[in-house]
Amino acid sequence: MINSRFFNRSELIGFVSLLLLLVVILPLALDIFRLNLVAKYLTYSFVAIGLVLCWGYGGILSLGQGVFFGLGGYCMAMFLKLEASSVANTKIQSTPGIPDFMDWNQLTALPFFWKPFQSFPFALAAIILVPAIFSFIIGAAMFKRRVGGVYFAIITQAIAAIMTILIVGQQGYTGGINGITDLRTLHGWDIRTDHAKYILYFVEVFFLFAAIVVAQFIRLTKLGRILVAMREQEDRVRFSGYSVANFKIFAFCAAAVFAAVGGALFTLEVGFMSPSFVGIVPSIEMVIYTAVGGRLSIFGAVYGSLLVNFAKTSLSETFPQLWLFGLGALFIAVVLAFPNGLAGIWGDYVQPRIDRLLASRTKKSGNGGLVANGAPAE
């Protein structure tokens, strides 16, 4: 069943309520510090939406989304850092005009791969292109040789490990374990003020809804159908004449680009980027946001990343000991009991009741009842 409308009724309700929550309720209810935290959580939503496409619909579990999040974030951070380390700002260094951590590591000239990041258009293009090309290489190498499932997960995890070790090890070029810090302005506009944070929040929400629309579009096209078919019966799709590998590569690249956009926005919101958002642990946590929200639900992914991060912040503020127990238990519970996450609970328990309530009120309209969520059976 291909929907004639872009969103069906329940998805439209989901879209509008998320819009209300993010654009009206949260900015009015929270002070700027908390709102900035929400903005930080929302950057993970981009990753989670990408994972819905790649993992939920395509069946490709990537444990290396942190790599793409980091690539996007670092591309942005490199531009901002170069702007922050102008000759005037860094005249106390032995080599003025290069980022401070390079000076500490006895570098005397800007490395060649940093130079193009002085241009803002190049940095913006790099945020999309670097992760896209990188994920294309990984995807092409693996999917063309029909490596999938568990093996793909383990190899992407190894890539996340390699990336972290590389960034931490090459301190002079990457800022090492501290990452790239002390970012100040974007084209002369101070990103650290409260006013700037408000504007950045709304910019991010705009991008988030753009991402939701793009993901929904991909899901509804024939491409999305083929992804689901591939997840369920890969061989049949192959025998029907489709190139399974190309579709998988597309899904993986799309997820990587979503993650990279999230990473770039993260750098802008939080003001630094470090390898602690690249490695194995953050990458798996990103999968958890998706799993908690519901691996088949784009809106669920947003709620999942908001809720898990909110729980993480409040629990680790008050009971730091309990947080890991809670996170671990959440993992196990979601996997064992609720494979479709919050969206599954909503669709199975809450939605039918609301529908019944609505149907009993307006008996004359015939088209109430259950609205198919597009969620295929396990």
């Binding site: 383990i154 090890g169 958890i288 959440l330 993992f331 196990i332």
Partner: protein
Amino acid sequence: MFGDYSIGDLGAIFAMQGFAGLILFSVYVLMALGLAIIFGQMGVINMAHGEFMILGAYVTWMTSNAFQSFLPALFPGYFFVAMALAFIASGSLGMLVEWAMISRLYKRPLDTLLATWGLSLILQQAYRSVFGAREVGVELPEWMMGSWQATDAIQIPINGMFVMCLTILITIVVAYVLFLSRWGRQVRAVVQNRVMAGAVGINTEKVDRYTFGLGCGIAGVAGSAFTMIGSTGPTAGQLYIVDTFLVVVFGGAASLIGTIASAFTISQAQSTMEFFMSGSMAKVLTLLAIVAILMLRPQGLFALKVRK
């Protein structure tokens, strides 16, 4: 990069780095053996494998403390008791986990990965709460300390040699159990065709449980051996888990010989390179090489041809 060393020095460096590599090899093999059984035979991705290993290490540490305070006369031999206890502790925890969690997830291998990751977080925090965040080290009995002077330039630590002998012994036992014993034949039958194995009267659920328990038990022994060469902290297991998975995948998931060969290659490559460049670059290059080879040869070094 060789310019500053004479031929004799280089020989000694290679011998000692080679031996350091052999110790790393032992740790890899011990961890990978358990994983190869669980992942290779059952297809379950146990991300908590490192934590089962650390459980063994903590059991060893507790046993050594107990011997020191209550049975100082028997202290030189405590390690063998500790090893048995570590096997039992990790093995029974493994069987419990299989019963409570894994047995519900056999049809969803990617989900076992997430669930066991959750388990590993819980175990890590449990270790931190019980034993403290600080790393603990066991006291070695006297006969294990010191080193053997092979030539003027080459020194080989005795605890390292002991761990290596232990590795060889455990490998032989595992190979015997899997390939020659009746139970091992049942395990392999279940792996090759679960339905058929059930039809001829093998209790597949029981086989699964004991297989998982055995894999975890070996991880416990690995942790026990690990205390001989390093200290133990709550998150020490996580440091090795990715490497170990690569060892198993690189060797060919279902092949025991493949696992050993790949553990040898990876550990030797890493420890030899470590001498000539920074440790992190050595690790990056090793991992990159493995990933590249796996992209060219996804089935690993020694692939078992099975019908899927």
